[in-house]
Amino acid sequence: MVRTMRWRFGGAALVTLLAGGVAAGFAGTAAHADPVSSTALAGVGGDGLQDVFDAYAGAAPTPPSANTVFYTPLHSSSATNNVTIQSFDAYPAGGSVAAPGCITTKSGGPAFDRPSSSGNGTTALAAAVNGTNWVQSTASCTGTGVNVTGQLDWVRSASQPKTSGSTLTWIPFARDATVFAYFDHGTNTIQHLTTAQLTALYSSSSGTLTIAGDTVEACLPLAGSAVRKNAEAAIGVTDSQANTAANAVSCNNLDQNGGNTFYNTVSSLPSGTDAVFPFTAASWIAQANHTAEDRSNTARANGVDLASIDSLGKPYTGTSPNLDGNDNYYTSSTYGNNVYVVVPTNKISGFTKNAALVSLFSGSTSQICSAAANATANTFGFNDLTAGEGTCGSTTLTGNS
């Protein structure tokens, strides 16, 4: 009996000792008050939307800039912990799609190719969802595929899905339009164009068309970019046709919405030889108004302007820095287009949903559909969606890429 009691006491003491040792072995791993960026949801994508999303993230044009304005950051509801966003531009400030470089979106994550367009962003997000590697097809800084699982939460996109499916959801939130910038040595010979002329130009194998006695050349922004796809759709040419035309005149894959890049590429053309280049109305206006990083100031100063198309009129009214968009383009079923936030479908519904992502983007009461967010978008040249164009926050449009 005595022996039994000793064993029991000894056993209890041993258990107590061991429990204490185990408890001492645990380390506190609680998160503490880190910068707001540590919980922000990371996004990439097209350049036409990058400036308004910079504003949603807190500042645009992003510093360093003499024109930086600070905004109240877009954030999820207090019930979903006030999570903010961080938005990576299509290419670094002062940089180019020729060298977009690498980004690291989250602490501890890998460096990977900066997706330099809506299309590339969507491809990268799909890779993050599917667990496949992401590498940009051109100008890769990694040179090999990188696992980006967990590194991307959303993509800004001005184009719709290119493949059917349900992996990703395109959520509309505003309206933009396709326009065409022109350079004609300041003669304004081609200040008015027709859709038929643009179709003929971009479907020609020579990449040229004679308009009002001048030879006009066809230029294109980066392959896969939304501005390129939307322009091709508006004038009814395939990417293959347009690609052939732009290659024929060595004016292909220019920086999207980069007026200066366009001007620098075509300014040496001889008198009587002009060029046109697809643009987005919102980006042109935001750059001219200096709410966005101005990448077209040199171009504007040297006569690059937006052409009026058909009977729609000039795409903007007023003078820089007080341009206002011409609604005829935005409401046009041909030239107007919705702009989207693309999210993984399984992050806005079901067990794996991210409540903050839902609060930010999903549904008509989401933060991006608020009056304040709409007002910010208007500042960057976007229009609100009308009933016939779509419903802000709708989650009915899905695709795999």
Binding site: A12, L14, V15, L18, A19, G21, V22, A23, G25, F26, A27, G28, T29, A30, A31, D34, S38, A79, T80, N81, K106, S107, G108, G109, P110, A111, A128, V129, N130, G131, N147, T149, G150, P344, N346, G350, F351, T352, K353, N354, A355, A356
Partner: protein
């Protein structure tokens, strides 16, 4: 012969002591895995986020965090190795290594925070692969339908009054396969007084106190060595007596 028997006995003793030492040594190294070694079945502990002490029970809206052994790390890091941290919640007895983790678990559920957001995939520390910044706002309530989740309460409770589950964290490699995991049992029990209809307890399933295997193995090894030595000594005595009689 006697001399040979003596050498044989020494060899037996030496082997026995070596085995015990090896057992003890192995056990001592099981508590915290060194960097690069897989941890399968490590201990996760549900804890109070305000003081990091174990939290053995709570209601559906009780906020908690998860503690892992000091230095708990994945086999590789996120930045260069493609490893990610995910949470899981599977019915007791499920082999979590049979699940895959590509953005979310292929089976079961996981830890969710107070907003219902699933935890994972999360990045590890660079180079070390350490599991860091585990959230401090987990709750079980947001898992179930009544609190905005996708899981029916009846499923959580095994269509009865209680459900026995395993919860924890895994490290998944770039292919989504489990490389490491730490787990703890969680028993959910129906409760009329809880706003979401259940409470939970967490800890070892055995009702008697249990010492960690890592620290019990040396004791078992030493006991085994003593047993073998005593048995050998008993077997030796009849032979010695026979020699003396001759």
């Amino acid at each position: 012969m006697r001399s040979n028997r003596g050498q044989s006995g020494k060899r037996v003793r030496a082997r026995t002591m070596l085995a015990a030492a090896l057992l003890g040594g192995t056990a001592l190294t099981m508590g915290v895995a060194p960097a690069g070694a897989s941890t399968l079945g490590g201990t996760a502990t549900i804890a109070n986020p305000s003081n990091n002490t174990a939290l053995p029970s709570g209601g559906s809206t009780t906020t908690f965090t998860v503690n892992l052994p000091a230095g708990a790390a994945c086999d590789g890091d996120t930045a260069t190795g493609g490893y990610h941290v995910y949470s899981f919640l599977v019915q007791a007895g499920t082999d979590i290594t049979s699940a895959t983790f590509n953005n979310f678990p292929s089976q079961g559920y996981g830890f969710v925070d107070n907003t219902g957001t699933y935890y994972g995939p999360a990045n590890t520390a660079i180079n070390t692969g350490q599991i860091i910044s585990i959230p401090t706002n987990f709750q079980w309530g947001p898992l179930v339908v009544s609190d905005g989740g996708a899981l029916a309460l009846s499923d959580l409770l095994y269509s009865g009054t209680s459900g026995d589950w395993d919860a924890g964290l895994v490290c998944a490699n770039s292919s989504g396969h489990v490389a490491d995991y730490w787990t703890t049992p969680v028993l959910f029990t129906a409760s009329n007084s809880d706003p979401n209809g259940f409470t939970w307890t967490s800890g070892p399933r055995s009702s008697t106190p249990e010492a960690p295997v890592a620290l019990m193995l040396p004791v078992i090894g030493a006991a085994a060595a003593v047993f073998v030595l005593m048995r050998k000594r008993r077997q030796r005595h009849p032979e010695v007596a026979a020699v003396d009689a001759a």
